[in-house]
Amino acid sequence: MVVSLKELTLEEGFAPGHRLCPGCGPAMATRMALKAERGRPIIVSNATGCVEVSSTLFPYTAWRIPYVHSLFENAAATASGVEAAYKWMLRNKETDQPVDVIALGGDGGTFDIGLQALSGALERRHDFLYICYDNEAYMNTGIQRSGATPRGASTTTSPAGTVIPGKRGPKKDLIAIAMGHHIDYAATATVGFPNDYITKVRKALEVDGPAVVHVLAPCPLGWRANPRDTVRLAKLAVQTTIWPLYEVEKGEYKLNMKIAQPAPIEEYMKLQGRFGHLMNPNRKDELEAIRQDVQANWQRILRLCGQGQA
């Protein structure tokens, strides 16, 4: 199943006029997700973060659908409550309108502070979709490193110094964490490939039970990139195999985009100030180590997807 752009709703659940930056990846991820609706209204439970603060400045709202935000770490728990309330209302004929519930959080609200609430909601098998828009740091508070920040990235709390070249260690594997809960659907996506992303959101909404979509959403401000390069970066992340596109349906891993000739990781990195220090010849070893990490992860994903050696 691939959702064609032509069949998407013309309605904008996430209206223009919000205060997100030009070239904001999370804004694209949010708008596209709502376009994936399957003829059922969507209710969004949003974690505190860029999308939340920039879309709900009182007395305005960019949301033309029912929307709730309360705290940073509780998007999944709040979504549990919404889902349970609708189950009860439908059973008791208080409403005749089934809804799809999407919990939406950034990487800080998902990988770090909201991980427990996400784990609980997945384990309880609520019928909801969790979308993590991943811009790889706490951008709303000023670009601090999170558990999703990739190795080598310079952030305000993992600055590239003379001794330490940016963030240490790899980012958490959110899909593996999600699959540790034996859920029926989990997928990676980027805003660079809208058909792939929207199709995955649609599939995830159709799953009866919890689902997770992990979408890479470049942040021009935090990545220190040109706003016009957001889509380019989101595509390069896939083409360099830094961000493999795959999905897991009922335990079956499937690669969604084969990359026969991976582009050099430098092509992706050199467009971003957060990796600028790695372009310096004296950081050659660190860059090489990252390249090996990327290759090893790509091979791992290929094996999971039954593709053997690339």
């Binding site: 209710i43 400045l57 929307y67 999944a76 709040t78 409550g81 349970a84 309330a85 784990s119 909601a121």
Partner: protein
């Protein structure tokens, strides 16, 4: 012979000039509707039953001593098909209250229960629940806070969160726990209030203590509480956004509305008390007084200590000492006029606190009472007795001792020690 539920004699205070509706009942004449079933129940069981009969739609909950029985009983109701509630076994109290918020903004009735560390873990969500005007009802089985870890009763959990914008009710016994839980739904969901409510019961003293409980019929409770009618909710037909970002231009106005809503809980509670009394014959107030009419000194407390306080008053009265006692049912919003009425004519007052406000001149309840008396220009001598900390027994003897000290202060006009840690080994 009708069964008398209140064994003690109650005194009604003189009608005050501003005539607030306080102490609207005389216990000695109180009789029981014979049609009401009487069962033996613990405080936790009584609250679970009240929530069940109030037909809550969603109960997200997490176990913590001494609240656990509430969650266990509710799980049994679910397992046996006795209720149609969505029960969410969340992974923490933070998620319990977050899920409550999610359900509540969908317009349905929500209940949860917690205690101690659980309430502390919920702390930020408490403010979100009241700020988003979610009429959630939550039982708090009051328990000491770590460290050192202690599972027994005191009020440090609720007092540490007392500024969270919730209506806060404290009950004395199992019957009150049941009655106030049912009433709490109506208070919370009142259109002028729309705020969350905590029903506080003392850990172990009430949660695990079995007492006689008069139970209403399921249909009586269902009729009394009705169904929740939420004007605003998450409805695709009329989409709204909950939880906006409100910057300095708007934040104050929103908070001011919240203050007003909490103040509205005062008349809303009185209305609900009236309705409940006409259904059950059990008439509660916001403040209860006992033998204060001609008293020189009195003791004021919240929760289960009130019964012990009346016992102490009885003993001293037998010795001809003019003492009385006062209990607050409603702690937030603080019933100021009722409190002034209840304390009228007192030369001295001992305020019992079951929590410590470290570094403050007085502990929470005493601070409130002192401010109220001072603002009214009263010269009542106030003394603060810290008792029942970490479940330390509150004895009749100790309370009588504090009342004696208050009488001494009333006689001399001198307070020897403003704050006493009663029974502490030093």
């Amino acid at each position: 012979m009708p069964i008398t539920v209140v064994r003690r004699e109650f005194y009604t205070p003189k009608a005050p000039p501003f005539a607030p509706k306080m102490m609207p009942y005389k216990g000695e004449g109180m009789t029981v509707d014979q049609s009401q079933e009487v069962v033996g129940n613990t405080g936790d069981e009584a609250i679970a039953l009240a929530a069940k009969q109030s037909r809550v739609a969603v109960v997200p909950a997490y176990p913590i001593t001494p609240q656990t029985i509430i969650v266990e009983r509710f799980s049994e109701y679910i397992a046996n098909g006795e209720v149609d509630t969505e029960f969410i076994c969340v992974e923490s109290e933070h998620s319990a209250l977050s899920a409550c918020i999610g359900s509540s903004v969908c317009g349905v009735r929500v209940f949860t229960a917690t205690a101690s560390q659980g309430l502390a873990l919920m702390h930020e969500a408490l403010f979100a629940a009241s700020g988003l005007r979610c009429p959630i009802v939550m039982a708090v089985a009051n328990r000491a806070l770590s460290a050192p870890i202690n599972i027994h009763g005191d009020h440090s959990d609720m007092m540490a969160s007392r500024d969270c914008g919730w209506v806060q009710i404290f009950v004395e016994n199992v019957q009150e726990a049941y009655d106030w839980t049912i009433m709490a739904f109506k208070i919370a969901e009142d259109a002028n209030v729309e705020l969350p409510v905590t029903v506080n019961i003392d850990g172990f003293t009430l949660t695990h203590c079995m007492m006689d409980l008069q139970v209403l019929k399921d249909e009586e409770v269902a009729k009394f509480v009705g169904t929740r009618k939420a004007e605003l909710k998450l409805d695709p037909r009329k989409p709204i956004s909950y939880g906006s970002l409100a910057l300095p231009e708007y934040y104050l106005e929103i908070k001011r509305q919240q203050v007003e809503a909490l103040e509205n809980a005062h008349p809303a509670t009185e209305k609900v008390l009236d309705e409940y009394a006409s259904m059950t014959g059990r008439r509660y107030g916001l403040v209860e007084t006992y033998a204060t009419e001609d008293a020189e000194a009195a003791i004021l407390c919240l929760g289960s200590a009130a019964g012990t306080a009346r016992e102490a008053v009885d003993r001293l009265r037998q010795q001809g000492k003019k003492v009385g006692s006062i209990k607050l049912w409603l702690y937030r919003p603080l019933p100021v006029e009722e409190l002034l009425c209840a304390t009228e004519g007192l030369k001295s007052l001992v305020v019992l606190d079951r929590s410590i406000s470290f570094g403050a001149p007085f502990n929470p309840v005493c601070s409130d009472v002192t401010v109220v008396l001072h603002q009214a220009g009263r010269d009542t001598k106030v003394m603060n007795a810290v008792m029942g900390i970490g479940g330390r027994d509150i004895s009749v003897q100790d309370l009588a001792g504090e009342l004696d000290k208050a009488l001494e202060a009333a006689r001399t006009g001198e307070v020897q020690a403003p704050v006493t840690y009663v029974g502490v080994r030093e």
